[in-house]
Amino acid sequence: MTLLKVENLTMYWEVLRGYVKAVDDVSFSLEKGHSLGLAGESGCGKTSTALAILRLLPYNGRIMGGNIIFNGEELLQMNDQRFQKEIRWKKMSVIFQGAMNALHPIQRIGDQITEAILLHENISKKEAVDRASKLLDLVGIGAERIDRYPHELSGGLKQRTVIAMALACNPDLIFADEPTTALDVIVQAQVLKVIKELQHKLNLSMIMISHDLAMIAETCDEIAIMYAGKIVEYGDVTTIYKKPLHPYTQKLIKAFPSVIGPKTELATIHGFPPDLLKPPPGCRFHPRCPYAMEICRKKDPQSAKVDGKYHSVACYLIGD
């Protein structure tokens, strides 16, 4: 069953000098219980995509087109009140990046979780507090820390609090936006383990947003590689990692070092990502692509299905 289907989503930032084409014609879908990784470098539009779906865009974000179908319902048509009451946090919630900033600095963590529950469910304060304690236990903080302030917790515990808060209303879908950046390796591993366990235990669907391909490889079933506002390659994790087709994906995967296996050369991609205010014509990767052809400079390649259920690539080197 398809939980979320995003079709041709286009979102631009309106700035003084024009539009920053942050998300351009992005499509993907997510089955219930699956997890999808949105990967790419900073500024490639992965967070913007999530914010557009969650309707958390700042004042200058403009959805220019596309469909977002969640549980068979078109989200872009839904009114704000209903979305706020019934969808966001109730059905889909988000683990924000940077836990130190995502938590209110002078509210107790218990209150912050309870608040989320009480806003969406018609239960008593006491029941909400009970559930908050259970959630804190579940993510490994321990119910006894319910009265703590964020500054009294370490980075890892804060991140777990944010996870507990995201789980407050038993959502179907969780967006995890760089859930472990700024955490140390061991703490990162601990938090990832918690996420994986919860996913398994609660049969959660998840969209993991990260620049770290290694992390996505460990947590996700499918992966969409984004470059400069577009999805360049999309497929299940094993296929993408084992047989990447897009030159960007190939290079990017090889740019990540690994602690296991023989030591390999790190791939380099020459140049810098483009300015999305004036993206290059044709394929947005062509200025950095070693295989760029004439057509790449002129025409934007469309995403085409390759073999298998999911795997699709937007590159002229592939297909006809």
Partner: protein, 506 residues
């Protein structure tokens, strides 16, 4: 080197351009700059904008108008149409002899400046009289509230008794004159009755003035020609010129010789009537009839000097102490910050009041004191900024390159602190202006300079309110307000530019 300098220059030109680019999008900031430029222009061209100089302790010009005269332009309103402006009537311009009983005994010389009368008597008890028509003028305003008649004369002679009457006649039917004057056709302005007996001559010039203004109301005695003193609590100037119409000044001199041969020589070299207008200039007059416009315009310079000097001084102090405290840390920091705590607990104005009640202060002392009591807040901001800057890697990077503390403070820390405190520095200007204004407003400022605070002080304490002299109350206040607003606007704009979170959305 040439290349180096040129490139460097282009960098800074670009920097300034970028900043201006940013600033020019901020309408409030532009408004502030506009107002400020206006004030600076006024300060530069002060003598041209206001031909008169304001009063000060050293320089006290003759008054220009009646007390609390209204601005001249109010005459466009019908109810003020008739108010008299300031003007002068010279009495010796066109003297004619009307009547003389002793044409053979007396000689008369007159030109535009002076009048010379010589009377020569051959016999005792010889009498003579001369009636001169001095000036005719037409008075077309409402009765004036204030005028001043001045004559300067000297006389030489002996054994002649003489009497000088200066009087006014009118062709109008005048009931006030009818009621109050013995002879309703002539209003005697003064009578000088001298009995010269023995001494041969007096060479001293005698200045006689007649004030007929409000300020002399109680003191003015209306003297009848017949020596009986009566007091008329009628406004003298209003009474004299109670009707529009033409008036004539006459001078009558009567001689009476006491010896057989005697000569008398009377020399009048000034005779004029000055009407102090009830309307004057662009902004009327103050309590003593001085020009308000001049005070207002000259106030711009003082306020700009006070504001900018005090702000610059306090910024220098605040930044120096803040940087030193923040960068050195440890004991130095503790001492400076505790000093700041103490100074912050001393209220500025009360202390300034004490000190200026001890010594009457020059405005530069006031500036110095405002600066001394005004740097603490800034130094706190600077210190906290320096504390966070100290941890920033580029400072360490400079240290790793071998930079000394002095180099780091001047080349790295201060340039990075300045933009953050720029807004605070600009906002220190209105702070200083307001403090000085408050001091002057309480009557404790430097009395020798014309400041707006002082104008407000005078308007409050010298009856400006009772006279409803809005031209003396409102303009100085507005001038302070707009000058402060200019800096507040600029400060606000800088704050928005420097603090990216406050930046206007585009």
């Amino acid at each position: 080197m040439a290349l180096f300098r040129k490139e460097k220059r282009t960098i800074y030109v670009r920097k300034i351009k970028n900043f201006w680019e940013e600033f020019s999008h901020n309408r409030i900031g532009l408004a502030g700059i506009g107002i400020l430029i206006f004030y600076v222009m006024v300060a530069v061209f002060t003598p041209y904008i206001s031909p008169m100089r304001p009063t000060s302790q050293e320089y006290n010009p003759p008054r220009s108008a009646a007390m609390y005269a209204m601005p001249e332009w109010v005459r466009i309103f019908p109810q003020f149409q008739d108010l008299p402006p300031s003007f002068e009537v010279r009495l010796l311009e066109n003297v004619t002899l009307v009547n003389s009983t002793v044409t053979d005994r007396a000689t008369l010389q007159f030109d535009k400046e002076a009048l010379n009368i010589t009377f020569h008597a051959d016999a005792e008890e010889e009498e003579g009289s001369i009636l001169l028509h001095l000036t005719a003028f037409s008075y077309v305003y409402a009765p004036p509230s204030d005028f001043k008649l001045t004559t300067v004369y000297y006389e030489t002679g002996n054994q002649i008794r003489y009497e000088i009457d200066l009087f006014l006649t009118t062709d109008q039917q005048n009931d006030i004159w009818d009621e109050w004057l013995e002879d309703p056709t002539r209003a005697v302005l003064y009578t000088n009755d001298r009995k010269v007996t023995r001494y041969p001559s007096v060479d001293k010039k005698i200045r006689r003035s007649l004030y007929a203004g409000l300020m002399n109301e109680q003191l003015f005695a209306w003297q009848y020609p017949n020596d009986a003193v009566q007091y008329a609590f009628l406004h003298p100037s209003e009474m004299l010129l109670s009707k529009k119409g033409s008036y004539d000044f006459y001078l009558e001199i009567k001689f009476n010789s006491l010896a057989s041969t005697s000569t008398c020589n009377i020399h009048i070299d000034t005779a004029e009537v000055k009407f102090f207008g009830d309307v004057w200039g662009l902004l009327g007059s103050d309590r003593v009839g001085h020009d308000v416009w001049a005070q207002l315009i000259y106030g711009v310079r003082i306020s700009l000097i006070v504001g900018s000097l005090a702000a610059v001084l306090s910024s220098v102090l605040g930044i120096s102490f803040g940087v030193i405290a923040g960068y050195s840390g440890g004991r130095t920091d503790q001492i400076i910050m505790r000093g700041v705590d103490v100074l912050l607990c001393l209220p500025v104005l009360p202390i300034l009041l004490i000190l200026s009640s001890y010594w009457s202060f020059n405005v530069y002392y006031v500036i110095l004191l405002i600066a001394i009591f005004g740097w603490q807040g800034l130094s706190r901001i600077v210190r906290s900024k320096v504390l966070s800057l100290k941890e920033v890697p580029f400072i360490e990077s400079a240290r790793a390159a071998g930079a000394t503390s002095g180099y780091i403070m001047t080349r790295h820390i201060i340039p990075n602190v300045l933009p953050v405190v720029m807004a605070a520095m600009v906002l220190a200007v209105p702070g200083a202006i307001l403090t000085e204004a408050a001091l002057s407003f309480l009557g404790f400022g430097d009395p020798s300079v014309p400041t707006w605070g002082r104008m407000l002080y005078r308007s409050r304490t010298q009856g400006g309110f009772e006279s409803l002299a809005w031209w003396y109350v409102i303009p100085p206040g507005l001038a302070i307000t707009f000058l402060c607003l200019a800096f507040v606007f600029i400060g606000h704009a800088l704050d928005e530019i420097v603090n990216p979170r406050l930046r206007r959305r585009r």
